[in-house]
């Protein structure tokens, strides 16, 4: 069982405050502390505009806090965290590249792949094809993104976040734009990826059922300026099946979180 451990946390935010637009701007987060262990699946829920996306940017080194410290894999974040992969609500695939070429994009950026990819193209293409197969897109690599459905585009976007085999996966409402059935399908895709790769995942979402189904631990954020008002360990045993979402234990946790959110919005 994974236990929170502030000394050995994989992603830790310690008393972090962040302001957009320099001093005098509005506080996005204030006194935010989070601790995610290696291999853990953490979810962050909260009312809209609570600074969830700020959390994403802080943890990946796209923004730096003006107070407090952010550590990833034991190091203070002072530049972009290259061991992280990101996926968002919009799949943001490049329309002039095929699905496979879209997957190769991060490898053309990040070292050591960047300097290898020209000479070892076949090896990377194989890796991308295997990854596509693992999310149910076998043989779809030669299609252009606009030839894929919304759910398939989002699967591709997940693959792009995983192609350089990051230790940390940051997901910002990745299923928000999908219909209910496709969304649940993708929950299972992400669940299986987590189980197979032992990767640390931080999922930002406003869907409480999604958070409870996927996460080991859930952080509830307050309204802006965001900080953690509650932390809940989800003790539903893995592997979890979609059926689990109909059990009293599951709905109990969802209700409990909901009350926190209602309070947080006031």
């Amino acid at each position: 069982m994974l236990q929170p451990d502030s000394a050995n946390g994989f992603v830790t935010l310690d008393g972090v405050s962040h302001v957009y637009g320099g001093t005098g701007g509005t506080l996005a987060v204030e006194g935010l502390s989070i601790n995610v262990s290696r291999g853990e699946f953490a979810a962050v829920v909260g009312p809209s505009g609570c600074g969830k996306s700020t959390l994403m940017k802080l943890a990946t080194g796209l923004q730096f806090p003006f107070k407090g410290a952010v550590r990833v894999a034991g190091e203070v974040v002072s530049k972009p965290v290259k061991i992280a992969g990101m996926a968002f609500q919009a799949p943001t695939l490049l329309p002039w590249r095929t699905t496979l070429e879209n997957l190769l994009l991060p490898l053309e950026i990040v070292e050591p792949h960047r300097s290898r990819i020209r000479r070892h193209k076949a090896e990377y293409v194989e890796r991308a094809e295997n990854l596509l197969a693992s999310v149910g897109l076998r043989g779809q690599g030669s299609k252009y993104p606009w030839e894929l459905s919304g759910g398939m585009q989002q699967r591709t976007s997940l693959c792009r976040a995983l192609i350089h085999e990051p230790d940390l996966l940051m997901l910002d409402e990745p299923f928000g734009a999908l219909d209910a059935f496709t969304r649940e399908e993708l929950w299972c895709v992400i669940r299986d990826l987590h189980a197979a790769r032992k990767i640390t995942i931080v999922l930002v979402t406003h869907d409480l059922r999604e958070a409870v189904f996927l996460a080991d631990r859930i952080f509830v954020m307050s309204a802006r300026p965001g900080r953690i008002v509650s932390e809940r360990v989800v003790d539903i045993p893995r592997p979890r099946d979609l059926e689990v979402t109909f059990t009293p234990q599951f709905t109990g946790i969802v209700h409990e979180l909901r009350e926190h959110i209602v309070k947080a919005r006031q």
């Binding site: 972009p80 996926a87 968002f88 950026i109």
Partner: protein
């Protein structure tokens, strides 16, 4: 297949219809030739003055193309620079808008002062009038990169140049090729303006001379030559656009 045939024939039918209406109007309303010559007389003038028309058309075409090529090179570079940095954008944009607002016919006398009459002012007028849409379009293409995608790449340690090469420039290409269609037509206008004011050759000059000698059918023959050249150049740019950026043109809108 029936619809595609209709669509293929449509431009030719519309052109022929225009000439028929024009010819008919001239005959029915008995319009004097020196006011509006019927197309039959205009075509006769085309055949009669073919060597002159050909020579002057080639001149106009060459000054247009040289000016256009300069506009493509300069417009592309400036567009990339403006899209690259907010500071360059803030500094250069107001100047460009001001410059673009100046009617280019007002610049020709200055060009004549500097370079004399003929080829050089025609090329420069074509250049000055046509680079603006290229700059604006390239800069717009660069400005519309999705911020999320930028985040994904920045988090991987991508430099600004990486993002520009992998995302910005391919994204700006449809805008760029789209702007060429506008720019080539404008370059043509610029060349003709300069020729009518300050040149001894070119279609613009030919029409001015025809006007002085009251050869009204020849004036219209000159217009016809301009229109044909304009259509051919536009079509070439449209073909280039379709070839280079097919991925951006998949909409079925207006195909029915």
């Amino acid at each position: 297949m029936k619809t595609t045939l209709a669509i293929r024939l449509a431009p030719w039918l519309a052109t022929v219809a225009l000439f028929i209406v024009w010819e008919a109007a001239c005959r029915i309303f008995n319009i004097p030739v020196f006011f509006l010559p019927p197309p039959s007389l205009v075509f006769k003038a085309v055949i009669e003055f073919w060597p002159a028309l050909y020579k002057h058309s080639l001149f106009t075409l060459s000054s247009t193309l040289v000016g256009f090529a300069m506009a493509v090179g300069f417009g592309l570079l400036l567009g990339l620079a403006v899209g690259w940095s907010r500071a360059i954008y803030a500094g250069v944009y107001p100047l460009m808008i001001g410059f673009n607002a100046i009617p280019k016919v007002a610049v020709v006398p200055i060009l004549v002062l500097w370079f004399g009459i003929g080829f050089v002012p025609a090329v420069l007028t074509a250049f000055l009038i046509s680079f603006f849409p290229i700059v604006v379009n390239v800069a717009t293409g660069l400005a519309t990169i999705e911020p999320e995608l930028e985040d994904v790449l920045k988090a991987l340690g991508a430099s600004k140049l990486d993002i520009m090469r992998k995302v910005g420039i391919p994204r700006a290409l449809p805008y760029f090729f789209g702007s060429l269609k506008v720019a080539i037509t404008l370059a043509f206008v610029g060349a003709v303006i300069s020729e009518s004011v300050a040149s001894n050759v070119g279609i613009g000059n030919l029409m001015l001379q025809a006007q002085a000698q009251f050869q009204v059918p020849l004036i219209f023959a000159g217009l016809l030559a301009l229109a044909v050249e304009g259509i051919v150049m536009y079509a070439l740019m449209a073909m280039l656009e379709a070839r280079m950026t097919g991925w951006a043109q998949r909409s079925g809108f207006a195909q029915g």
